[in-house]
């Protein structure tokens, strides 16, 4: 009797992988939705300062960035080695801040203009002089909410 029984395939068959792309696409969409593209190409060196008492800037659309640091090597011939500031994609001087803020504010929704925050991303080694100038012109531009950008880290190591 057993002689005529059909031979059963031995071991488990090949695993069906056709749902694997679905899983990966799900991951892909998750990352596409939850992340943002890198906003600008930095032309100045910004090595993050460290601090511990940080607050997160929640809404990206409300934040305007000012980058401060020494120009990258390829720009040093034209812009020198003193810390400069970068607004959007170009080098700027402190006098440009007011028009930049006005322009950024114009592009926001009317009810959100009050909540505009300016994030100052400065190199940790940069002198306060330029930052004081920035602060003064932000005051004049009525952009009073600012944030000194920093990353979570030890407060004492770099001093």
């Amino acid at each position: 009797m057993a002689k005529f029984r059909k031979k059963k395939p031995s071991g488990p068959g090949a695993i069906n992988t056709s749902s694997l792309p679905d899983i990966v696409f799900m991951l892909l969409f998750f990352f596409m939705v939850s992340t943002t593209m890198k906003e600008v190409d930095l032309k100045v060196q910004v090595r993050n300062a460290e601090a511990t008492e940080l607050t997160k800037l929640e809404k990206k659309s409300l934040v305007t960035y000012i980058y401060v640091g020494v120009p990258n090597r390829q720009f040093q011939g034209r812009f020198g080695t003193e810390p400069r500031l970068q607004l959007n994609d170009q080098f700027a001087s402190v006098d440009d801040i007011q028009s930049y803020i006005v322009q950024e504010r114009e592009s926001m929704k009317e009810n959100e203009r009050q909540l505009m925050t300016v994030s100052i991303k400065a190199d940790y080694d940069c002198p306060m002089g330029i930052i004081t100038d920035i602060k003064q012109s932000l005051r004049e531009a009525q952009a009073l909410k600012i944030s000194y950008s920093a990353i979570q880290g030890d407060n004492f190591t770099r001093n």
Binding site: T17, F31, A49, T55, I131, K135, R158
Partner: protein
Amino acid sequence: MARRETPEVNAGSLADIAFLLLIFFLMTTTMSTDAGLGRTLPPPIPPNEDPPPPIRERNVFEVLINANNQLLVEGKPMDLKELKDAAKEFIENPMNLETMPEKTTIEVELIGPITTTPKAVISLQNDRGTQYQTYLAVQNELQRAYSELREQLAKSQFNKSYSELSTDEQKAVREVYPQKISEAEPRNVGGGR
């Protein structure tokens, strides 16, 4: 006619394509939201207005940073590590000293009458040559002083951590210890280049 079976499409490589896309997006995007020390600048002073009345000396905790990143706190040199405790002691004024801020009893919602130092102000001044990291570290320490005081109060009044309090309770705690860090009009502290 023979029944022809439709051949099954091999979907195994689809996963590879999807992975490739996934990795591309992982590389080009940033997940971390930006964080920093939030501050509010004072509004600009209108040119033809009297300067604000001076604050009594005992209510001001003066912190100066020179161009060599050294601290001068209330006229004495100080290490950064001691700053937080000094600031805390100043804001709290536990010994009720003459040199430290006036204590008054204020009525706060949800907490009731409490004796505190609502007039205490921390004045921070820096030189143009001060390193940004030092300035941030000082700001950070001062903020830490305030958050620790608030945490203490939250623990003693509500038996909860400050972050667990409701918005109204947090507001009450903030009213007892308002964060007043004044960054004065720029001037040179000295020691510059």
